[in-house]
Subunit: 144 residues, 2 copies
DNA sequence: TATTGTTATACTCTATAACTATA
DNA sequence: TATAGTTATAGAGTATAACAATA
């Protein structure tokens, strides 16, 4: 079947990027099912666990999501008791999203699950190649 | 705002992959708007231009799409006169998708547009780095 | 008047199952 | 009975506009 592999499509970086990402996303979401998270909601939870105390606005900008999507993600995490919304006293329009203790514990479990998923997705690469890939991707991903 | 960049999320390969892909997909689709194509439909068109004469089943497997999605993509391309469905005489259940002359011309234009989009997406990389990225991604993307 | 978060809506994408015609 | 393609449908994901509270 894979005679189509010879085509020029298989050389287009954007095609390879899309396919690698599809694998990574599928593995990641599958690994997070038992933790009632998805890759999207994990990203919000992970940021809420950091010391930066991000607002929803900042989450939307950093994750390149529409603010209305962040609402839905935070709603879900809050309903699970993993994060809390606290209104910033300096500007009472903005709501800061912080993880609860349960949220921090869940985040650790999720990170471990995602690490395991990554070992599957990137199993064909050596550790050095994996680091090189991360560096190249960082350059592409964070280039504004 | 980008103080969130310090977080551990920014080091997760799957996060970087997702973000790089989002950029690539957005740029690619934007570049294809004038040609009435999307990255998805371009992939089908490109394969229909090759000498392999793929069936819809093969397209679905190679592109990791559900057969019903391939139907919709081929419908769109066919409505534009870019591809034709011909029933395989050896097995009259299977339909082979081949590009028309107009389709081949459109594919060339689309490839040029996507190449240009890629120069933007991957502008932070040297040619050698770009090749290295493609090789690493190929390993990840095509590893079954 | 502008901004943060929210709600509502619609549009695309994706996944599933049932149907047809062929084998 | 099984397979290729098709149709229908529902669920995610995504984008947009309008609204409330605050600045």
């Amino acid at each position: 079947m894979e005679r189509l592999l010879d085509g020029s499509l298989s050389e287009a970086p954007s095609f390879l990027l899309a396919r690698a990402n599809a694998r990574s996303l599928a593995q990641g979401n599958a690994a997070l099912v038992p933790l009632k998270l998805k890759v999207r909601s994990y990203a919000v939870l992970a940021l809420a666990c950091g010391p930066e105390r991000p607002s929803q606005k900042e989450l939307a900008q950093f994750l390149r999501l529409d603010p209305s999507q962040v609402v839905a993600l935070v709603d879900d995490l809050e309903a699970q008791g993993l994060v809390e919304r606290t209104t910033d006293q300096a500007d009472r329009r903005t709501k800061v999203v912080v993880a609860t203790d349960i949220g921090r514990e869940r985040e650790r479990e999720a990170r471990a699950a995602l690490d395991e998923a990554d070992t599957i997705v990137f199993r064909s690469l050596t550790a050095a190649e994996r680091a090189a890939l991360a560096a190249l991707l960082r350059s592409v991903a964070l280039d504004d």
